[in-house]
Subunit: 343 residues, 2 copies
Amino acid sequence: MARKSNTPTMWEVAERAGVSQATVSLVLNNVGGSRVAEATKSRVLDAVEELGFRTNAFAKSLRSGKSGMIGFISDEVASAPFAGKLLKGSQLCAWESGNVILSVDTFNEPELEAAAIDMMLSYRVQGVVYASMYHRVLDVPTALAGIPTVVVNAQDRAGLVSSVFPDEELGGYTAARHLLEAGHTRIGMINIQDPESDLPAGIGRLAGYRRALREAGIETTPRLIRYGSGIVEDGFDLTRELMNEDERPTAIFCGNDRTAWGAYRALESLGLRAPDDCSIVGFDNQDTLAPYLDPGLTTVALPYEQMARRAVELLLSAEKPTQNPIECSLVLRGSVASAKVPA
Amino acid sequence: MARKSNTPTMWEVAERAGVSQATVSLVLNNVGGSRVAEATKSRVLDAVEELGFRTNAFAKSLRSGKSGMIGFISDEVASAPFAGKLLKGSQLCAWESGNVILSVDTFNEPELEAAAIDMMLSYRVQGVVYASMYHRVLDVPTALAGIPTVVVNAQDRAGLVSSVFPDEELGGYTAARHLLEAGHTRIGMINIQDPESDLPAGIGRLAGYRRALREAGIETTPRLIRYGSGIVEDGFDLTRELMNEDERPTAIFCGNDRTAWGAYRALESLGLRAPDDCSIVGFDNQDTLAPYLDPGLTTVALPYEQMARRAVELLLSAEKPTQNPIECSLVLRGSVASAKVPA
DNA sequence: CTGATCAAGTTATACGAATAACCAACTTAC
DNA sequence: GTAAGTTGGTTATTCGTATAACTTGATCAG
């Protein structure tokens, strides 16, 4: 009945312990408390130990109908700068609930995505975390219709599934508040996209900036708001523009860290320096950049890990679709100083 | 015999097509060519389509003994700066051979690692890619003994399993050659670790630099070789030191990109600029940094993706353990200029 | 006309674990 | 003394697929 193999089965364990396969299963899954005598129990456990038995997840899943796997589909996330943070959060949360992550990066190729979904359906994943590389509004592939799905770092256009994404507006508000609290009143902003663009990041961050100023009783001057595209060069050019205005801002809120890097360079090129001549706040907390700028960049962190954890939680809780903006927190470094009190 | 469920089985497909379950299996796996009549075949395929049948990977794996999964264990790789590049390469290569990646990041926690290995053994992975965050010599966990393993971005101390890692020496050689070919003869190097440190990266890069100079008939002056720890500040300080020597180098090979960034800043602080006053070559091709420096940094790229592909290939080919240094290629940007011919 | 070959399937079983249902031997209660 | 319970297990079956072994009716060579 039992046979020798490189990976022993419960039958082999049972044979060695002198019990039935069912008993081995009962012991290993600790079913019904003391249905098995202590002596037998330890004989079984000894046999398990000696043979190096390891349960076969496939047989277990087949029988139980639970795969214990969660799918993670991303478009290029795995190779994006902030990279595995989403994956990391998902994995940790999945792990805590005894699940395992089956991840596929689709590199934005539709065929790869289709194949990935196919594969995940075959593996009967409990649910799928659908992660986007950047915050956007997207359509969940129809192939995922039959299976619990949560969108992370993006929003589902149709609202059929839950979405978890950064609260950009609050992040922008937080950044601006920080500058206001330092006493600044002439606060510029360099946004990361055209006013016509519909990406949530730029729209939200700008809106938050506006609300903070409005609440502080400061009117937002169009002259102090510039539009770049989130790259270093634009940060450089637009900061120089701002600093050449009649009334220079004493602080600039940059829509992302790369723009802020450009701002640092622009200040330098003008013989100025953050934070003494102009305070700077960034956005993204890019960990290969923000800490290494001189001075370190005060910026707003995107909550990748929390978003991912939340996504997995939502997946496992199987609740109704909800929208979940996640708070972005401020990371203090050295690029903000108190405004000089005008003499 | 067949019953309705959300995920139909082969029995249900068989019932609908009016054939036996075995026939469905034969059709779907295309066994033995024309064992099944075309008409029957298409009836089956129609039924598959109509019911939305998807094979159960668990049953399949249980029956066949092949899991179709490859384990990917990493220590913090998923959240490292170069991030998912290793994962990406592994995934692509695994995918091509019909396999799927089961990845776990252990965050350097031994218990997590043990649990991860346990899980992978349960899922009967075909093999494990054991990835390191940085190039080092490591010991493969003994728990992996029974299962094909390949170490990537590191070297197995015992040499019991294959290792795939960057050819640091050749990379250093390539960097130095590039400067030599531009006519430089006074070439400084800022290494990224102490002379006593035994990390392969610093040792190899320095050795390559030395070989290139030796081959060019230039003696390496200790004065031109400095030792930092791979951080921006050290790049800054040591570059200033080098540039304050009696005979300044006309080019500096920095052991990594962050050091090179520091070098840029140092030059700037001295009123100098790359590449006119001093050429710079980095190492790592850090994609959030090298392209954005001004001028863009000429550097040596670490072949993450190729290493990962190679690792998976080795895993699947089940060959004897081998050591596999992978070539690091030069990425040209704007930080190297021809040496000025002395008047 | 008959035995052999072949096309096109079907039947039965195994993979490894979980679990419902059953059972034997002892206690215990009255 | 016997019905009822308890203890400590066992047996049989199931999950969904792959495949070896068998069947059946037709075709064909000699």
